[in-house]
Structures are given as structure tokens and as C-alpha cells.
């Protein structure tokens, strides 16, 4: 009788420890998503800022300036639900403006243009990186959250179900092709 009771207690304790460990794992994943999301936001904002700067600097022709300014402005002002679309449109605008290597060269030649293109190149490269890391964390958290033990025992608490950030982040060809940029 006592032995059975002890065994039941041991089993309950083991289950409790396992659930606590799983909750800890989930907590860590949520923290990772938060950090990844903050990093993605920072990169997106940086990209929009550089694009806006270039659009208002007068180094581009007026038509390109307007297109780029419009897209960068929309990306910065977008509401959360519109964000993915606005950022994708900025990617498209950047591809349209910096599609040709000559355009990039022209920007580099003006004073300060070298630094601006450098920043833009870095930004368009880091956005896909940050997005991939974010979505990777989201995927890992979702896989764990869909598990029975997490659903039955509500281990995720009130944390919202993580969503991937989907957008078109293809960089402009002339900026992505780093070989062409080698001095």
C-alpha cells in the first residue's frame, strides 16, 4: 500500500519535472522569437531609413526618387497587419531602382554615395538573414506547441501563437552581386 503510494508520488514528480522542463524549453523559444523579431525590426527599419535617405538626397532621378520615397515611407508607417505587404513593396521598389549596375555606380560616384550604397547593400543582405532566423525560431516553437503535452497542460500560457514573417526580400541584382562591387 505504502509502496504503491510512493511509486505514484515518484511518477507524478517525474511527470511534473518533465512538464516543467518542457515549459522552460518553450519559454526559451519564445524569448528567442522576441529577440529575433527585434533584430528583424531593426534591420527592416534600417533598410527603409537608408532607402528614404537616398530618395531625398537628390542623387537619383526624380521619378526613381518618388517611387523609392513612397515605398520607404509606406514601409516605415505601415500598421502591423500591413507590414509584410509594405516591406515587400519596398523590396520591389529597390529592385526597380537599383536593377542596373550603372545606377549603383552613379550613386557611388557622388560624395557620400559610397557610404550610402555600402549601408544599403548591408541592409538588403541582412533583412533576409534576420527573417530566416526569425522564421526558424517560429517554426521550432510551433512544432513544440502543437505537441499534445503542451496543448493538454497549457504549457504555453497566454503567449500568442507565433507567426512567421512572410515577405519578398529578394535583394536588387546589382547590389546582391558582390563580385561586381569588388573595386
Amino acid at each position: 500500500m505504502t509502496a504503491t503510494l510512493i511509486w505514484i508520488l515518484v511518477a507524478l514528480l517525474a511527470i511534473g519535472l518533465y512538464l516543467s522542463w518542457t515549459a522552460g524549453r518553450l519559454d526559451r523559444l519564445h524569448a528567442r522569437i522576441d529577440a529575433a523579431r527585434a533584430a528583424l525590426d531593426a534591420q527592416l527599419l534600417r533598410r527603409a531609413s537608408v532607402a528614404q535617405e537616398l530618395a531625398t538626397s537628390g542623387v537619383l532621378d526624380p521619378a526613381a526618387s518618388i517611387v523609392l520615397y513612397e515605398a520607404a515611407h509606406a514601409a516605415r508607417q505601415a500598421e502591423e497587419e500591413q507590414r509584410e505587404v509594405a516591406e515587400s513593396e519596398l523590396s520591389q521598389a529597390l529592385r526597380a531602382v537599383f536593377g542596373e549596375a550603372q545606377q549603383v555606380e552613379a550613386v557611388r560616384e557622388v560624395p557620400g554615395g559610397e557610404a550610402a550604397t555600402g549601408e544599403l547593400t548591408e541592409a538588403v543582405r541582412r533583412v533576409p538573414m534576420a527573417r530566416r532566423f526569425h522564421n526558424d525560431a517560429v517554426g521550432a516553437a510551433r512544432r513544440l506547441r502543437e505537441h499534445r503535452k503542451v496543448r493538454w497542460f497549457r504549457l504555453a500560457g497566454h503567449a500568442p501563437f507565433p507567426m512567421a514573417f512572410e515577405m519578398d526580400d529578394e535583394p536588387p541584382a546589382a547590389l546582391a552581386d558582390r563580385v561586381a562591387q569588388q573595386p
Binding site: R28, A39, Q43, R132, F133, G139, V179
Partner: protein, 389 residues
């Protein structure tokens, strides 16, 4: 930035991953970062100042060959101490799925962790059995890097999640500046790799050799690499054996000169390659490359634009392509030129900057790396309401 790099394989034994880590660490040190590499090493091997030994690796059979790995209580304690003392901003683990230091670090660390997946092994039985343990450790990795699109695909299939592709780096100028050696020039075919490892493909090349020599008797095959030379030429008719010259293990300098000198570099590997650094080195030195059409090789060679491909394990196709190239100096010059331009993207200046971008992306807005226990203590106390502050 304070960077901690974990090497899973013994520092005493030369290998692709070890060289990659050495070059990466030295690149970051040149840029003024603080770097510490944790690697298995015998206590009496001389180590560069930035390498910390994690103790001797134990040879155990793993994944079809004998691997020298570190595990157990002592190694785990050393990993923990290294993490604690290092106070790193980011920890970069190489090959986190091998049951060695990488996995131990994953277990012990918390904070920004970057991991590079070098091999693209098909999922092993052990990995399926240990899946849930592995998954819990791999979940801590904030950023995954795959060395090729092919490696990324296998990673996604087997472990889920995603990774960015950053190729392995090469010091392109080191190879481009090497001086050719006259005795290695003139209708020479080069091969570098372990002689006795069939997957490096020397047997395929040996089978193709009689046909090549029948048409071009003046051609020579130069082989650099360890292994039993007698056994390697066994399949060759006795009168042709003199056309094969074995150079044994070569130094880095000689390797560069070798690649600068040969008229054609052949990589007949039959499988198990996830990147193909030797092709990048050959192209850096301006050697025209002929390689088997493995996924990884095709990608490094830009789908055949920067070097020629032949059907894997088909020695007739190899002989045909080699003969065509040896007879066509113009085509070889074209390949040299294209290869040299293509290879710039693998230079450390590009690759290192990309890896640094990854570090900066994951450290933005995150705390430094800690040994997990440092955190667990106060965390638990805080949860129980016992924290002092």
C-alpha cells in the same frame, strides 16, 4: 566583439573543418575581435594562443568511420568553464549534431548561439533515436548557417527549420600569387586527396587513365595526398605506372604551387561532399577544373560555367572530357579566367563579412552568452520569490 568558436574535431588532426575554423579565427583577430576557440587536443600539442584545449578526444566508431570525439562529464565541465570565463557576445558552434563539443556547448550555453552545418549526412539511426534530445539542444541555436544550398536542403529535410547559406572561405590571393613549378607543368593532370579513400574518387581516375594515355602518351598524373601508393596503381598496366607521380602529403605552400602548375585539376569524388573547398582552391590558383557532377560541386562550379562537370563515377566520360580539355588550350584559358572571377565570392573578405553580419544580427538586442547554470540559479530563486534584488 568577444567571439567563442567551438571546434568538434581534434585540433591535432588536419581536416577541412579545423582549417576553416583556424582561418575564420585569424580573420576575426585581424579585424580586432577577441576570439577563443575551444577544441579537442592532446595536452602536449602546441596550440596557437587563441585555442583552448578541451582535453583529449576519444576515438570511437561513429557514422561508419572512426571519429575522435569529446564527451562525458569532464568535457562538459571544461565546456562550462570555458563559457563562464569567456563571457562571449556570441558563440559559434561548428557541426552541432556530432556527439562532441558542439552538442555539449549547445546544452551548456544560453544566449546568442550561431551554428554552422558542414556535412550533409543523411539522417542516421542514432540521430532518429536521439531526435528529441537533439531537438531540445538545437532549439537554442539562434542562427544556422549551411555551407551550401545542398547542405541547407538536407538540414531542412532532416531537422526542420531553416538556415542561411554562407560558403566556406578561402584565401584566394594566397593561391593566386603562388609561383608555378616547372616540373609540374606540361600536360599534367592534378589530383589532391586521400589516396585510400574511395569516395575521393582516385579509382575512377585510374580507370580513365589508360584511355587518356593512349591518346596523349606525354600526359602525366600528379597525385598529392596520403595513402598506399602501391595499391593505388594496382589496377594500372605496369608500363603506364611511370606516368603517375605521387607527391605524398604537401604543405600549404606546395599545394598552392601545385594547383598553379597543373594543366588540369580533376576532382572525381563519388559522393559525401557538401561543399568542395578543393575546387575553390583550384580555381583560386587558376587551374581549369574538371569535377564529377555532385550537387555540391555543381553549385561551387556555378552549374558548369566556372569549371567542367562529368557524370559521376563514369570514367569514360572523365577520360573524354579530360582529353578534350588537354587538347584545347583556348578552352582552358577561358575556364581559368571564369574560375578566377567566380571564386572571389569565396574569399575570406566576403565570407568573413557575411559571418560577422550573422553575429551582429543575432546579438542585436540579446544578452551575452552565459553558462546556462549561471542563469538557472537566480532564475529559479526569482521564481520562488527569493531573489534579493
Amino acid at each position: 566583439m568577444r567571439i567563442g568558436i567551438v571546434c568538434p574535431y581534434s585540433w591535432d588532426v588536419p581536416g577541412g573543418v579545423q582549417f576553416h575554423i583556424r582561418d575564420l579565427a585569424e580573420y576575426f583577430i585581424r579585424l580586432g575581435h577577441e576570439v577563443s576557440v575551444l577544441a579537442p587536443a592532446d595536452d602536449d600539442t602546441p596550440l596557437p594562443p587563441y585555442v583552448v584545449s578541451a582535453g583529449r578526444a576519444v576515438p570511437v566508431p561513429y557514422n561508419g568511420s572512426v571519429a575522435r570525439l569529446n564527451f562525458g562529464f569532464l568535457s562538459a565541465a571544461r565546456v562550462r568553464r570555458w563559457l563562464h570565463d569567456g563571457e562571449f557576445d556570441v558563440v559559434h558552434i561548428h557541426e552541432p549534431t556530432s556527439p562532441s563539443l558542439g552538442l555539449l556547448t549547445c546544452w551548456a550555453a544560453s544566449g546568442p548561439i550561431v551554428a554552422t552545418f558542414h556535412t550533409s549526412n543523411p539522417r542516421s539511426r542514432a540521430m532518429i533515436a536521439a531526435y528529441s534530445i537533439l531537438q531540445a539542444a538545437l532549439e537554442k541555436i539562434s542562427a544556422r548557417i549551411a555551407v551550401s544550398e545542398y547542405a541547407r536542403r538536407t538540414l531542412v529535410e532532416h531537422l526542420g527549420g531553416d538556415a542561411v547559406v554562407i560558403p566556406n572561405g578561402v584565401d584566394v590571393d594566397f593561391f593566386a600569387r603562388a609561383k608555378p613549378k616547372a616540373e609540374w607543368q606540361g600536360d599534367t593532370i592534378g589530383f589532391i586527396g586521400r589516396i585510400d579513400e574511395p569516395r575521393k574518387g582516385l579509382p575512377v581516375l585510374m580507370k580513365a587513365l589508360p584511355r587518356i594515355l593512349a591518346e596523349r602518351p606525354q600526359a602525366r598524373l600528379l597525385v598529392a595526398g596520403r595513402g598506399d601508393e602501391e595499391e593505388a596503381v594496382e589496377s594500372l598496366p605496369a608500363e603506364l605506372r611511370s606516368r603517375v607521380q605521387f607527391l605524398g602529403m604537401v604543405s600549404d605552400e606546395d599545394k598552392a604551387r601545385f594547383l598553379r602548375s597543373v594543366d588540369l585539376y580533376v576532382a572525381p569524388n563519388t559522393g559525401g561532399e557538401s561543399f568542395g573547398i578543393i575546387l575553390v582552391e583550384a580555381m583560386s590558383a587558376g587551374a581549369p577544373v574538371l569535377a564529377s557532377d555532385l550537387d555540391a560541386f555543381a553549385q561551387v562550379l556555378d552549374q558548369g560555367a566556372a569549371g567542367e562537370l562529368f557524370a559521376n563515377e563514369d570514367s569514360d566520360a572523365l577520360a573524354e572530357a579530360a582529353l578534350r580539355l588537354l587538347a584545347d588550350p583556348e578552352r582552358r584559358a577561358e575556364l581559368r579566367e571564369r574560375g578566377s572571377a567566380h571564386v572571389r565570392r569565396f574569399d575570406w573578405s566576403t565570407v568573413g563579412a557575411d559571418i560577422l553580419s550573422v553575429y551582429e544580427t543575432v546579438t542585436a538586442g540579446a544578452a551575452a552568452v552565459a553558462a546556462a547554470e549561471d542563469e538557472r540559479g537566480p532564475g529559479l530563486r526569482a521564481r520562488l520569490g527569493l531573489a534579493r534584488d
